[in-house]
């Protein structure tokens, strides 16, 4: 049995005081023991950005990789050792900007990993430029006259891409976050959790106060996550910012298609061929 403190790392996060990412880190440490996961059962994979520093602040196995490439690496790792729980983390620039191509394919491929996007609607580590989720008209250092592009809606993108678990939550709402993380990790297949994780330094619009005021928990409103059309409606509503589990289905995950090969984790397979097997391969060309 693990406890939250088992996941504490000797390195203290270098995030700005008040950064929304602290909420996710705290929630992860609370969630893993609820799932009976030990530090060595977990692989945390990230890309590049403030939020992608997270693997260095939590005591699990980790890979802190390239900007936008966390998902291919996480999927490759999972296929190599599917007995470990793989959690990919990163920011909106990482996941919805430079890495959005991989995201779409990861969702339809459905490898059993959980992807947590700390979405602050701004580029923080590069000191405040527009992001793929910045609001239309938002003034940033790279859009001093207002962002001329409409933001990506990660939820409808996920629904359209065949994602089997689609959720959104504000990182300041820890109990709701823990509940969603637990279900996302338990979900057998690719799970996307878009988290509002405010950047206290560079985003003066989408603040903690903003999310506290404007979000609503759709589970409390009785939303049925098996209804994909209702999920689209929730994801596009304008009266409030919907949070909660928008959609969940029970499509079998990618690993199931490789059932025989993955009866044993790939990394544990015996390597090499017998002389007979080798001769048989050659005979095909004679």
């Amino acid at each position: 049995m693990s406890e939250a403190k088992d996941f504490n790392h000797e390195t203290h996060p270098d995030w700005c005081p008040g950064c929304g990412d602290f909420g996710l880190l705290q929630a992860l440490k609370k969630t893993y023991p609820l799932l009976n996961l030990n530090p060595h059962d977990l692989m945390t994979v990230s890309g590049i950005g403030c939020s992608s520093n997270l693997p260095g602040f939590i005591n699990t196995y980790g890979m802190h990789t390239l900007h936008g490439r966390s998902l291919p690496i996480a999927q490759g790792f999972k296929l190599g050792n599917h007995k470990m729980t793989v959690v990919a983390v990163g920011g909106d620039g990482d996941g919805y900007g430079i890495g959005v191509g991989h995201l779409v394919h990861a969702m339809r491929r459905n490898v059993d990993i959980t992807y947590l996007v700390m979405n602050n609607e701004i580029y923080g580590l590069t000191t405040g430029q527009t992001s793929p989720t910045s609001d239309l008209g938002m003034k940033t250092k790279s859009t001093p006259f207002g962002n001329p592009e409409v933001p990506i809606n990660p939820l409808t993108l996920a629904l359209a891409s065949g994602c089997g678990f689609v959720a959104r939550v504000y990182t300041g709402h820890i109990p709701q976050l823990v509940e969603i993380l637990k279900k996302a990790i338990e979900h057998q297949g690719f799970a996307l959790v878009d988290t509002f994780s405010p950047c206290v330094t560079f985003n003066k619009v989408n603040t903690h106060e903003y999310f506290k005021t404007n979000t609503v928990d759709i589970q409390k409103e009785g939303h049925d996550p098996s209804d994909i059309y209702a999920a689209y409606k929730q994801a596009t509503r304008t009266d409030k910012i919907a949070t909660g589990i928008f959609y969940q289905n029970v499509r079998s995950c990618y690993e199931a298609t490789e059932e025989e090969t993955l009866a044993e984790p790939l990394y544990r397979h015996k390597l090499g061929l017998t002389e007979e097997e080798q001769a048989k391969l050659c005979a095909e060309f004679i």
Binding site: D14, N38, A74, Q75, N81, V104, L266, L271, G272, Q278
Partner: protein, 584 residues
């Protein structure tokens, strides 16, 4: 045509979609099964239907070292091919064609050739027959023309069509025999000494050899995005995925392919990917990631004509510079360039071993010619045991993933062990993996760590240079007046050139590189002892000669470069050398 030749060059030409590749395969396999040697080159275009496509096969009693220059015999399959190919046929050569498709009087094009037009529609009236079977008839006529054993052809067809049932087998055999009988009745077999030695060899290409080599040496994960001329490896492995329990993934792009491979390698799986130059360009950032995180990955770059989309179905050795400089910053890499199909098989295994020994990317340079041309090859036997280097599955709490060691290689813990948790980062990090790039960057302690950890990684290069990199091979007369210097797939063509030149009274030998980087000690010594060197490269800028100069200070001043998209043949090189010599 000269009498009693021991080899013959056959060209099968038509449009894409005419079934040329399968006709060439049938004919090549018939030759191989008689113990003849075959070298076959597919000259194709980036089109699915139409255009001009041809397969050229050099068949010999002895090993044929290239696909040959001008053909002795041509099979022409469509009406546009005579104008293209008839001018190229050797003097006194033979043309076989289907006169139901090509009704024209071809003799007006050249008088010195023998023309055998077989009227397929008149000869074969069976209602089950389809147009593409005319190819089988022409192969039958070719077999008879070359005086090969038709029974081998009939047996092959019987095996080839087993799944389609007796009716299809019988029909194909009937059509094949029609071609054989037509030549018996209306033509004359050539006077040849094509004697097989009875040894059954494989007929396969370099991509098959890479695929089989990876599989035989423990590959468990492979990812790729389709790109000619590397796709053959994906096709081979995909077909073997279930029977040999591998995960073979087509990914959304090359960035995903290499990063999947890094993820799988990190999990402790032998993993590789392959692509061509354009795809490799996309992979470049991740090559550096593998260097920084010390991940054992193998990447095969099957070169084609560049730059950019270039001439995608044609030959070039243009990517050596790309591999040498792939990714920003400095990290150790190993670059190997196998010289032929057998070497491709063994190099695949060697690369997997070296990647795990040094925990760093191993890059293999192939090219269209090596990867896609078919050769008769003795069946492969694994000679290299699988060696996985410093890998462990258990660790104490003091485990350091990037421990500084004598040889620069740290103990590699497969994730999952209790107590061993570590993070591998693309950021610079200390021995434990803690990043020093953010709040510690530039502080005095970090400067020292950076120096030590960078030196540790780079140490692998020096160890590999002395322990694993092999010197170039030297073949031919020891004291030669001229040495031809090559690398990778040009090996056989340069050997053939040496044979031609030496038969003409010259004294030429051949120095050939397969281990390109890090360059082993002793290369300068070898080069210094040569009287005169000409570099032979399938590129414009003599990239290997530049590397040699950078690494050894030896300046190879004279070069022969071919960059028109075609591979070298011995005859081609020999002709260019003769010209070079008159310039001396």
């Amino acid at each position: 045509m000269s009498q009693k030749k021991e080899s013959i060059v056959v060209r099968i030409a038509g449009a894409a979609g005419d079934g040329i590749a399968s006709a060439a395969d049938v004919f090549g396999r018939i030759c191989a099964r008689q113990g003849l040697h075959v070298t076959a080159y597919n000259s194709y275009q980036s089109a699915i239907r139409g255009g001009h496509v041809w397969y050229q096969l050099n068949i010999g009693s002895q090993k044929t070292l290239s696909h040959g220059e001008a053909p002795d015999v041509a099979i022409l399959l469509n009406r546009t091919s005579p104008a293209v190919h008839i001018p190229q046929i050797k003097k006194g050569g033979v043309v076989l064609y289907n006169s139901s498709i090509i009704p024209d009087d071809l003799s007006s094009l050249r008088k010195d050739l023998t023309y055998y037009g077989l009227p397929f529609r008149e000869l074969v009236k069976d209602p089950g027959v389809i147009a593409v079977m005319a190819n089988t008839m022409l192969i039958g006529s070719l077999v008879q023309l070359l005086n090969l054993n038709p029974q081998v052809g009939l047996d092959f067809l019987s095996e080839e069509f087993t799944r389609k049932g007796d009716k299809v087998i019988q029909l194909n055999q009937l059509v094949f025999n029609t071609g054989v009988d037509w030549i018996k009745k209306n033509g004359k077999s050539l006077e040849l000494q094509l004697n097989g030695d009875g040894i059954k060899r494989m007929l396969l290409n370099g991509n098959h050899a890479f695929g089989m080599g990876l599989l035989a040496h423990g590959l468990k994960f492979y990812a790729a995005y389709p790109m000619s001329p590397a796709t053959g490896i994906l096709h081979y492995l995909a077909q073997k995925a279930k029977s040999h329990k591998m995960v073979i993934k087509q990914t959304e792009d090359e960035l995903a392919a290499i990063n999947f491979v890094i993820g799988a390698a990190h999990a402790g799986v032998r993993a590789a990917c392959a692509t061509s130059g354009g795809g490799f360009s996309l992979m470049v950032e991740a090559v550096g990631l593998a260097g920084m995180m010390e991940e054992p990955i193998v990447v095969i770059n099957v070169q084609r004509g560049g730059p950019s989309t270039g001439i995608p179905t044609k030959q070039e050795q243009g990517d050596l510079n790309l591999l040498l400089g792939a990714s920003h910053g400095e990290f150790p890499r190993i670059i190997l360039a196998p010289k032929d199909i057998t070497d491709a098989f063994h190099t695949a295994g060697r690369a997997l071993n070296l990647a795990e020994k040094y925990q760093t990317p191993v890059l293999i340079l192939s090219d269209l010619y090596l990867s896609e041309s078919f050769r008769t090859t003795e069946p492969f036997k694994v000679t290299l045991p699988i060696e996985r280097g410093k890998v462990q599955t258990e660790a104490g709490s003091d485990y350091k993933r990037f421990l500084i060691t004598e040889d620069g290689v740290s103990p590699r813990l497969i994730p999952g062990a209790p107590n061993g948790m570590y993070v591998s980062a693309s950021d610079e990090h200390d021995e434990k993996g803690i990043v020093i790039s953010d709040v510690l960057a530039g502080l005095p302690a970090s400067l020292e760590i950076r120096n030590k950890i960078q030196a540790k990684r780079m140490k692998k290069l020096e160890v590999a240079r002395t322990e694993d990199m092999q010197l170039p091979t030297v073949s031919g007369p020891e004291k030669a007046d001229l040495t031809l210097l090559g690398w990778g797939s040009t090996y056989d063509a340069i050997e053939e050139a040496c044979q031609i030149l030496n038969a003409n009274g010259h004294k030429v030998n051949h120095l050939h590189f397969t281990d390109l980087f890090p360059m082993p000690e002793g290369v300068h010594e070898l080069l210094k002892n040569c009287k005169e060197i000409i570099g032979v490269e399938n590129n414009f800028t003599s990239q290997m000669c530049r590397l040699i100069r950078a690494e050894t200070s030896y300046h190879v001043q004279r070069t022969i470069n071919r960059y028109d998209g075609e591979p070298f043949t011995g005859e081609d090189i020999a002709n260019r050398i003769k010209k070079e010599m008159t310039h001396v």
